[in-house]
Symmetry: C2
Subunit: 322 residues, 2 copies
């Protein structure tokens, strides 16, 4: 399933979202414009805006407010990537040099803040304080998830529940807000709002798990980062957790985190064991389960092309390669 | 005029602001709690919240919404200080170690984002989308001001207008929003809202100019940073601008920015010339003018103890020592 196929039902509104994002780059200050163009031109798949636009069709359709919501969400997402790059000190993202390496840390912090500000400005254009509240709660959940991830780095003894909790904040919350926000803008009935939030949250969980799988099996070039980079940075994701669960007494993750010497040897062993076992398949099954829940949540919504499109996005998340 | 005197008219509401700020530190995650307590316990003078609380008395008094506004503004202000510390790579702020040095850059970025998120959450508690809009516009102006400052660092040939424009965004916008936000919450008549915004903006301009003066004449220990630290970091403030204006062809600021060698010599000379001339007095007169405009803006408001209190704050800004 191609991304173009997924975008098709909301193509004209997505074009307006792109225009709204482009408008953000129109700064008086040439350097700011250049940095923003660099960051925003690295177009992702716009999954979150697409979900928001589709969710906003279950009720009274308000395209203008939906476009503002969708653009705000994508901008918020991109702002967190800019800050993540400072945090991770990574120098590539989606295969391109990051703001962090091209400019410096300070500019990345300020640019991220500038984008947050514009995201806040855009969300106000929905003219709904409930939607702004969702936005700020999501920002809280994301920041909290990132902080927790950072503070549990290189910490042995994390379990799957902690992992789920962390990715719920870091990733799933914004997907949940995309879907719920759309529904709220549309004045959807309560049960639909809840269903769409559930859908978004489960899609987000699966999205992050697939991301974490791709980090172990993805093509380094396609992903724009080295294989096993999460583990290298001390972030324990589902595959590493499963490896540890299976070998609680002695395993290369534990040795990698604990050992001062020959660290890279343990890391290589961990990557090898994860790649050459059924761990990635099992991780994929966990992602599948979340997608099943996402699709099942949609069942309370009336059957429509838009509902099918949301289900298609959920399926796409499972099979994406980058 | 002591700070206690300034706080007196809104003392009980300020206590609620403190409680709201304290509530932000109540995170499930002990490390987050510790970092937030560290950052928020470094109590500033709470000038912005005090202005917001007072401005909110010109119209229908809504203490609950005002407390949310005031706490949000102080939190936003503190969040920008946390991010500034990453940007400036400074290791002390108000004489105490910053988050940046105590933890690391990444944590400071995330902590600032976490605080922004809570500030956004608090501002929504005013239940006024107009106030949330003010908040996001201010965030835009502040981020833009910071970016401009960073990008014009070590750039010779800036003029006073550029400086005023920069500090209007970086500092005055939040003071303006404090006053205007209070007035909007109170449903003040249009002319009062404008007057209070003018007041806030002018107080903010003076506040920053006095800050920039103190950077040259202040006691390094009291200020918690070395004398001339702005110039050292490449930030040209009013006193340095005046020094350059008086000696356009050759001056130590120009030499400090241009010269590879013996930089510290030029810096020391610039500080000496600024300290031993009437430049700081002239800078102070510029600050005085802004305060005069602030106080004159208040004249459309009905005479009251609250109006006098706002005028007192303006006077205090001029005489503060740290």
């Amino acid at each position: 399933m191609s991304v173009a196929f997924i975008h098709a039902p909301v193509q004209s509104e997505l074009a307006e979202v792109e225009a709204a994002l482009q408008a953000v780059t129109h700064s008086d200050i040439p350097q700011i414009r250049k940095m923003l163009e660099h960051v925003l031109s690295t177009a992702g798949k716009r999954l979150r805006p697409t979900i928001a636009l589709l969710a906003g069709r279950f009720g009274e359709h308000r395209p203008e407010a939906l476009v503002a919501l969708a653009a705000s969400i994508e901008l918020l997402h991109t702002a967190t990537l800019v800050h993540d790059d400072v945090i991770d000190e990574s120098d590539t993202r989606r295969g391109r040099p990051t703001t962090n390496s091209k400019q410096h840390n300070a500019a990345a912090v300020m640019l991220g803040d500038y984008m947050f500000a514009h995201a806040a400005d855009l969300i106000c254009k929905t003219e709904r304080i409930e939607v702004v509240k969702l936005f700020s709660k999501t920002l809280m959940a994301m920041a909290s998830g990132e902080l927790t991830q950072d503070m549990s780095a290189y910490e042995y003894g994390q379990d799957t529940m902690q992992y789920f909790h962390r990715i719920a904040g870091k990733t799933a919350s914004l997907f949940a807000t995309s879907a719920e926000g759309g529904a709220v803008v549309a004045d959807s009935p309560e049960s639909w709002v809840t269903a769409l939030r559930d859908y978004g949250e489960n899609v987000g969980m699966a999205f992050q798990i697939v991301d974490d799988i791709l980090d172990f099996k993805g093509d380094a070039k396609e992903m724009g980062k080295p294989t096993g980079s999460d583990l290298m940075e001390g972030t324990i994701t589902l595959p590493a957790l499963l490896l540890m669960e299976r070998n609680p007494d002695d395993n290369p993750v534990k040795r990698f985190f604990g050992d001062g010497d020959s660290k890279s040897e343990h890391l290589a062993e961990a990557i090898y064991l994860i790649q050459n076992s059924d761990i990635l398949d099992e991780s994929q099954r966990v992602a599948d389960d979340f997608i099943k829940r996402a699709i099942s949540a949609l069942s309370v919504l009336p059957e429509s092309a838009d509902r099918t499109a949301l289900a298609d996005i959920a399926e796409h998340v499972l099979v994406r390669r980058s």
